[in-house]
């Protein structure tokens, strides 16, 4: 799909991407020597997933762009291509000739709004506010479950103001002819500067007070006594009412920028007031990635609404029309029925802080920019137990905000990168090109980290989660779907062999002792985490490092646990599991078993796809089956559906409770879940440490990072045990 507009051409197409996925399958063990066989079979298969691609080109590359589309359309049945925008007229003939397709013109605004709704619903941290006096200029917003109603102000050559009330209901409520075209056209006349970007550069260096008549120019020094701000503009260009004075290009450009931004802001506020709306999303080429215009528009909105209306911007603003045109073309397939996830590996992020700082990147983003969205197999929804989904923020530390933490973690990920690449290569010993792909992965992720050092906000709020997820996306990109599959397989096998003895020793304890041992086991199991550098160092160097050693490493004396396990049993517990091997088998399962014996049902949630050595849903099925074969409690619970295994919908080492598999959410509601257990550093510390739930929750993890331990005021291998009861 194709969307020319302004000087950039945007195109969207849908592709199916073939990539490798790791699968596990249980062996048929009948008649075999179980002890010397691996627990299950790992295979790598080709899987086809749907992916949306959005690309931006400068119009000068229109031919290249069309060649590009042609190459990607060859195998499809496409006869008609969707185009929107004024430029659809301009390039109609060229497109039809070049592609041999009929051009179907779509309504610009319909597409824009469809695209806007799509990104608001599917991309976390899509929306941001601009903040002037801050270390980071962009403040990303939590996606609100209900995105309507909102005002969309599109500043192209002119301005369109649209009120959007629902997916299909929107209304053009006004506009203005003073827009980006006015800045560009009038600016070109006044300054003899031809390019829009250069005009903005001029403006950022100018002093508008030399050209504008300010309140203090009219009132003299007396404005203060009147409670007026002397720096307000009384009359734009009011000082240039003379033929015999020269004004600098910079000053005129700045004055023009203020004039236009203020005017748009004022009109937008008047419309927002009339329609009682407090959120305005701004888009169009005037805004697109230009901090200068975001700043002036934000100022204007704050000024005219007295802070009651918020000016908001979108990370993928430039793609909205293309996304919408695509969605409209694909209506029979209704992409809206799916959930989508931004692929960090394939997307170039939001660029530039100011035009001056990173000219190279600006040029690049202006020429060729892309966004990739993967279609997720199942729809994602909020955990029904979240206290307030609209204020829930998964991440504990905002690295965009916290420069020190950002520096630490970026370095940490950089230092770990060689090891990750090595492990990835080692995970595919039979592949001839594994080394080469691992190196490509290393390079790609290294570059992402460098981009993030310069522009922490490139993919929304920077967090440990986004760093981890980006790494997973990059690994997948180079066909390393599950570098830890063999490690997990081995550790699961070893842990299973110990399961019965652990259970026996637990059963021999008195009630209170047992509760304590269970929790300690849960925590000790969590030490086995290949994602944490400190741990992977230990595991690499001491392969026989065991459960008992782990228990002894835990910091902190056995203090009495305030988890209310001697009260009435919970109805149903939802447990988010962390690592494979000892963690899930010797830590989580005995705890699950205890809950089941108390009459509490258990929903055990594992990741849908692999991430580090985290246990996946399909692995959990096999592991559980094997445990059930040894343990009657687990066996009958499975049979009676008291123990339910579900997938989270995620492939991240962290946990976003606002994007969980719909099936999980349904089950949580049906079983009246009243206890949520979140385990592990990724899920309970990097994310959800501050998450507030409507039911009791237990967050536990072992801190396997000395910097983080320091920050939280503890030592490495300290224990986090956070039991929370909601206020009545």
């Amino acid at each position: 799909m194709y969307w020319p507009g302004g000087s950039l051409t945007k195109l969207a197409y849908y592709s199916t991407v073939q990539h490798k996925v790791a699968r596990v399958r249980s062996f048929d063990h009948s008649g075999k020597d179980i002890d010397n066989e691996p627990l299950y079979e790992i295979s790598v298969q080709e899987e086809i997933t749907a992916r949306l691609h959005f690309i931006k080109f400068e119009n000068t590359y229109i031919e290249t762009c069309l060649d590009f589309i042609k190459d990607h359309l060859v195998n499809t049945e496409t006869k008609v291509i969707k185009a929107t925008g004024g430029g659809a007229y301009k390039f109609k003939d060229l497109i039809e000739k070049k592609l041999g397709l009929k051009v179907d013109k779509e309504d610009v605004m319909t597409c824009l709004i469809k695209g806007c709704n799509f990104v608001l619903r599917n991309i976390p941290h899509e929306v941001f506010a601009y903040q002037k006096d801050s270390d980071t200029e962009f403040r990303f917003q939590t996606n609100h479950p209900n995105i309507f109603p909102y005002l969309l102000v599109n500043i192209g050559s002119g301005v369109s103001i649209v009120k959007v009330e629902s997916e299909d209901k929107f209304e053009w409520i006004g506009g203005s002819s003073i827009g980006g075209g006015t800045f560009w056209g009038l600016g070109a006349l006044l300054t003899k500067t031809k390019k829009f970007d250069e005009l903005l550069q001029l403006a950022s260096k100018g002093q508008h007070t030399n050209v504008d008549m300010l309140v203090k120019d009219v009132y003299g020094g007396a404005y203060q006594t009147l409670g007026l701000s002397g720096n307000l503009i009384a009359s734009s260009f009011g000082k240039s009412t003379t033929a015999d004075k020269e004004f600098s290009k910079e000053d005129m450009a700045k004055s023009l920028l203020h004039m236009i931004s203020n005017d748009i802001g004022q009109l937008a506020c008047l419309h927002a007031k009339l329609h009682n709306l407090d959120k305005i999303y701004f888009g169009g080429f005037f805004i697109r990635g230009h901090p200068v215009t975001m700043r002036t528009i934000t100022y204007s909105i704050n000024f005219f609404s007295k802070g009651e209306v918020q000016a908001l911007f979108l990370r993928h603003e430039g793609y909205l029309g293309a996304i919408g045109a695509f969605l409209k073309g694909a209506e029979q397939d209704n992409p809206n029925q799916y959930s989508w996830g931004e692929n960090y590996a394939g997307s170039s992020g939001l660029m530039s802080t100011s035009p001056d700082v990173y000219p190279m990147q600006r040029t690049r983003s202006g020429t060729f920019d892309m966004l990739e969205m993967d279609r997720l197999e199942r729809p994602l929804v909020n955990l029904p137990l979240l206290k307030d989904p609209s204020t829930y923020i998964p991440d504990t530390v905002d690295l965009t905000d916290d420069a020190m933490a950002r520096k630490y973690w970026l370095t940490c990920f950089e230092e770990a990168l060689d090891g990750v690449a090595k492990r990835a290569a080692a995970s595919q010993p039979d592949s001839v090109d594994a080394q080469e792909r691992a190196e490509k992965f290393r390079q790609k992720y290294w570059n992402k980290l460098q981009t993030l050092r310069q522009q922490p906000f490139a993919y929304g709020t920077l967090t440990v989660r986004s760093l981890l997820d980006t790494r997973e996306h990059c690994l997948n990109e180079f066909n390393f779907p599950d570098p830890y599959s063999k490690v997990k397989q081995k550790e699961n096998g070893i842990a299973l062999k110990c399961f019965q003895s652990v259970i026996e020793s637990l059963d021999s304890l008195g009630w209170e002792e047992r509760q304590f041992a269970l929790v300690k086991g849960l925590l000790a199991g969590n030490v086995f985490d290949w994602g944490a550098k400190a741990v992977s160092d230990v595991l690499e160097s001491e392969p026989q490092f065991g459960f008992e050693e782990a228990k002894s490493k835990l910091q902190g004396k056995g203090r009495s646990l305030d988890l209310d396990l001697d009260g009435p049993p919970h109805k149903c517990a939802l447990i988010f599991a962390d690592n494979s091997g000892i963690d899930i088998i010797l830590g989580v399962f005995p705890f699950v078993r205890e809950l089941l014996s108390r009459g509490t049902e258990v929903i055990l949630a594992c990741n849908s796809g692999p991430a580090l050595n985290d246990v996946t849903y399909s692995e959990s099925l096999i592991v559980t089956e094997r445990i059930a074969a040894m343990d009657p409690v687990i066996h009958s619970a499975l049979r009676d559906e008291k123990l339910l295994l579900v997938q989270t919908g995620s492939s991240s080492p962290c946990l976003d409770l606002s994007r969980l598999d719909q099936g999980l959410a349904v089950l949580v509601r049906e079983r009246q879940t009243d206890l949520v257990v979140i385990e592990g550093m990724g899920r309970a510390i990097h994310t959800n440490y501050y998450a507030v739930l409507r039911c009791e929750s237990l967050k536990l993890a072992v801190i396997k990072n000395s910097w983080l331990a320091d920050r939280l005021g503890g030592k490495i291998f300290s224990v986090i045990f956070k039991y929370e009861v909601p206020c009545k």
């Binding site: 605004m109 980006g180 056209g185 309140v215 009412t241 004039m259 005017d263």
Partner: protein, 389 residues
């Protein structure tokens, strides 16, 4: 050339008189002035008593007489001061006195010369109060005191403006209506200027277009507020015209605009969509992007100065219309009165405002205009003088 030089050559001024000057009428000493010092223009109204008795004439101090003669026998003062003779209100009764009201304007940058002249004519000896409004009342307060030995009585801009509008409308324009509108504004063939009776003015949106724009909502004689304002006003039109065309007076800018074609400069809806944009009900002739055609180098090279002046005028006027319309909707007011010196000799803008308000509101809003466009603040200041007993 300036006020002062001209004034000096005109008359010889007597020395300080010790008697109280002029006659007091209900406690108000002549001369009666009202001053509105804006960002660009100073507006001065002067009440010339015509019922002076022989006795009064006899007693009238020389200074006062010469000021009266100077102001009423000239139509231009210095190189920049102008008396709008066509606006003069004749046989007005004000505070029991009969006389004519004169309307004079000059650029604000000549203010120091004006004060200088007042000083040289020993204005302060007349012991009258000089009431002034507008930002300049603050800016030049100190200059009046030090250069002219005059203490200004500063009056609130909004009060003066509203008071002035209501007063002038109530006394009428020498037997004609002060207020008018354009009938059939959307039809150039049938569009005509007609008197409007503003007897029951409330509620009213008052849009004052000077260098910048102020928008007031008036709900009753004493209940009015400033709604908003915009910096895109007359000063912007004139300032941009100077930069774009090299013109040096407002009149010149308007003259150029009257000969230009803005559709060469602006991008219209039909330039983008080939016709109307039906999805949003936008007519093809509507401006989609002011100066939008100027993004192209070839088009920049093919437009005339007149085209640019016209486009500037249309841009500023449409924008004011659009903001005024939104304010009227938010305030739930359907009569909008446009005043201010931007509208002086500016029929293009007035017709466009009338058209735009009518068209975009589907006939719900009415644009009204007043003959004394920019003088209401000054009139209000004069009334303020007479109110202060």
């Amino acid at each position: 050339m300036s006020w002062a030089q001209h004034g000096q050559s005109e008359t010889r001024w007597g020395l300080v008189q010790h008697r109280r000057s002029g006659d007091s009428t209900e406690g108000h000493v002549f001369p009666w002035f009202g001053l509105d010092i804006g960002g660009t223009l100073v507006k001065l109204v002067y009440f010339e008593p015509k019922d002076i008795t022989a006795e009064e004439e006899e007693e009238e101090v020389e200074n006062l007489k010469s000021i009266r003669k100077y102001l009423t026998s000239n139509v231009a003062y210095g190189s920049t001061g102008i008396r709008d003779v066509h606006l003069e209100l004749k046989d007005l009764t004000l505070c029991g006195r009969k006389g004519n009201l004169h309307f004079i304007r000059f650029p604000t940058h000549d203010m120091p010369a004006f004060i200088q002249m007042g000083s040289e004519k020993h204005f302060s000896s007349l012991h009258t109060t000089l009431c002034a409004t507008g930002g300049g009342a603050y800016k030049f307060e100190q200059d009046f005191l030090t250069m002219g030995d005059l203490e200004l009585c500063k009056l609130d801009e909004l009060d003066c403006l509203v008071k002035g509008v209501l007063y002038i409308d109530s006394v009428g324009f020498n037997g004609h209506s002060e207020c008018y509108y354009f009938e059939n504004p959307t039809d150039p063939e049938r569009c005509q200027k007609l008197p409007f009776n503003l007897e029951n003015p409330y509620p009213l949106l008052l849009v004052n277009i000077g260098s910048g724009v102020s928008i007031l909502a008036a709900y009753s004689k004493d209940n009015y507020k400033r709604v908003t304002g915009t910096s895109l006003g007359g000063g912007t039109f004139f300032g941009l015209c100077c930069l774009l065309t090299g013109c040096s007076t407002f009149e010149e800018a308007l003259e150029m605009a009257s000969h230009g074609d803005s559709t060469k400069v602006d991008k219209l809806v039909r330039d983008i969509y080939g016709g109307d944009y039906e999805r949003f009900g936008l007519p093809g002739w509507a401006v989609a992007s002011s100066f939008g055609n100027m993004m192209s180098k070839e088009k920049r090279e093919s437009v005339s100065k007149e085209d640019l002046a016209r486009a500037t005028l249309i841009t500023i006027t449409n924008n004011i219309g659009s903001i005024a319309r939104m304010c009227a909707l938010n305030e739930n007011i359907n009569r909008v009165v446009f005043v201010g010196n931007f509208l002086r000799i500016n029929t293009i803008s007035m017709r466009l405002l009338a058209y735009a308000l009518d068209y975009w509101s589907k006939g719900q809003l009415k644009a009204l205009f007043l003959e004394h466009e920019g003088y209401f603040g000054a009139v209000g200041a004069l009334l303020g003088l007479l109110d202060s007993a």
